[in-house]
Amino acid sequence: MTAAAFTPDEMMTIAASRALSSSDVCFVGIGAPSAACNVARLTHAPDITLIYESGTIGTAPDVLPLSIGDGELCDTAVTTVSVPEMFRYWLQGGRITIGFLGAAQLDRFGNINTTVIGDYHNPSTRLPGGGGAPEIATSCGEIYITCKQSKRALVEKIDFFTSFGHGEGGDHRERLGITTRGPTLLITDLAIWKPDPVTKEFTVVSLHPGVTRENVQETCGWTVRFADSLEETPAPTALEIGTLRDLKARTAAAHSGK
């Protein structure tokens, strides 16, 4: 069953998992990033080091955590450190190769907003805020982002700079003295995007199976740039889709409280 049916969400998670390797040390955000990181660990990247901001280093959960501090993460970790140690020695110390973030609002330069919709001091929607993201975005070697496409999520201008991507583009990170690479990969439910080498604007390099350029543009708030040689993302394999669904099923059973 290599041509198994799959949802756009599943394609997003699996495409994201493929970007990870066994040699990566990955700081995992919750939600889609957590699923992608664990699918990678359970398929092609068994030796990947997964780190959650609660202090768990080298964790291998059997079910996806609901929060970043579920007991499962600690039970299966190589070691669990305090939160100050996590942010000082491990993140700020430069030990993390990849930070994997989700986004409520994202612009074409990979700047992320998870703080407010509207004005900061008088918001129409107060979102949870940044948590670890402001420093994850600048201290990890590079940043991968996953986000479901919609005109509300992929916007021309974000309402708040929760975490800094490429700013206004070009050499904006360098101008701020930031030496890490920032966002190098955006995986949505429709496509894979990479920043232009010079402008740093996210450019579509691969469309997921069955997705058209129009689909991508219709669900994006800026005028989308496509690479000259546009590829098609390989469909999920039976192993990938089976691993993801098993993981989700175990997770749903564990979180229902039954």
């Binding site: 929060s67 600690c74 000082r88 900061y120 949870p128 805020g129 975490s163 409280g257």
Partner: protein, 284 residues
Amino acid sequence: MATFLSLADAVRENLHDGDVVAFEGFTHLIPHAAAHEAIRQGFRDLTLVRMTPDLVYDQMIGMGMAKKLIFSYAGNPGVGLLRRLRDAVENGWPNSPEIEEHSHAAMANAYEAGAAGLPLAVLRGYRGAGLAEVNPNIRSIICPFTGEKLAAVPSIRPDVSFVHAQKADRKGNVLVEGIIGIQKEAVLAAKRAVVTVEEIVDDLSTHTNACVLPDWTITAIAVVPGGAHPSYTHGYYDRDNAKYIEWDRIAADRDSFTAWMKENVLEATPDDFNDRVADLRRAR
């Protein structure tokens, strides 16, 4: 020296209107029972400090106890937004608490600086981040050795910190295990510290490098089995994820929130926590 008290007495003697108070717990060991006791005793004008204000702060905000919030992630982890906090910030119900918002890295550093007796914390943080523009307590400092510009935030020095932990020995030394989060720093940074524990034991029977808070760093200890619920206590009971999911519905509406608080907090007691974790206890 730590004094063993009932939870009601421990809260009454150590928390006061207008205090800067931290009820800490990074997902694990959240002192729900202590927070509920504070709600029952009806404190006002509190500055609530916490990295991850989740359900308990949503409840305290909804009950009108907060004058100010200092935090770095105000969500229901894995579920969504905090609806009582949103109602307060967006609509001023029941009041409009002042907001001082940081990143996790900054707050962790600020607690550590508080524990270390320093006036500020220094970190390589907030570069390009919008919070630096809206929070006047995020400033910068130049490294006198390298010239690097670094972020500076004031240390956190609560009047009182509340944490939950696994166990205390009879003298009052407390063991914290698992995701230890910011528990040690929250206690050592505060003027007073109140710890709720699952049990009292003769011997903590732990290894030499374990996270132990000596009895003389703690003001009061109250034994409250299940006192972290619906958070968890590693080695005692699991996180009640279903309750976190359920909270989203309860907190969505002012009336359902108020009714839930009356039934489950105002008319409840610390002893109720033991029953709430009965099904979650692991075979040890």
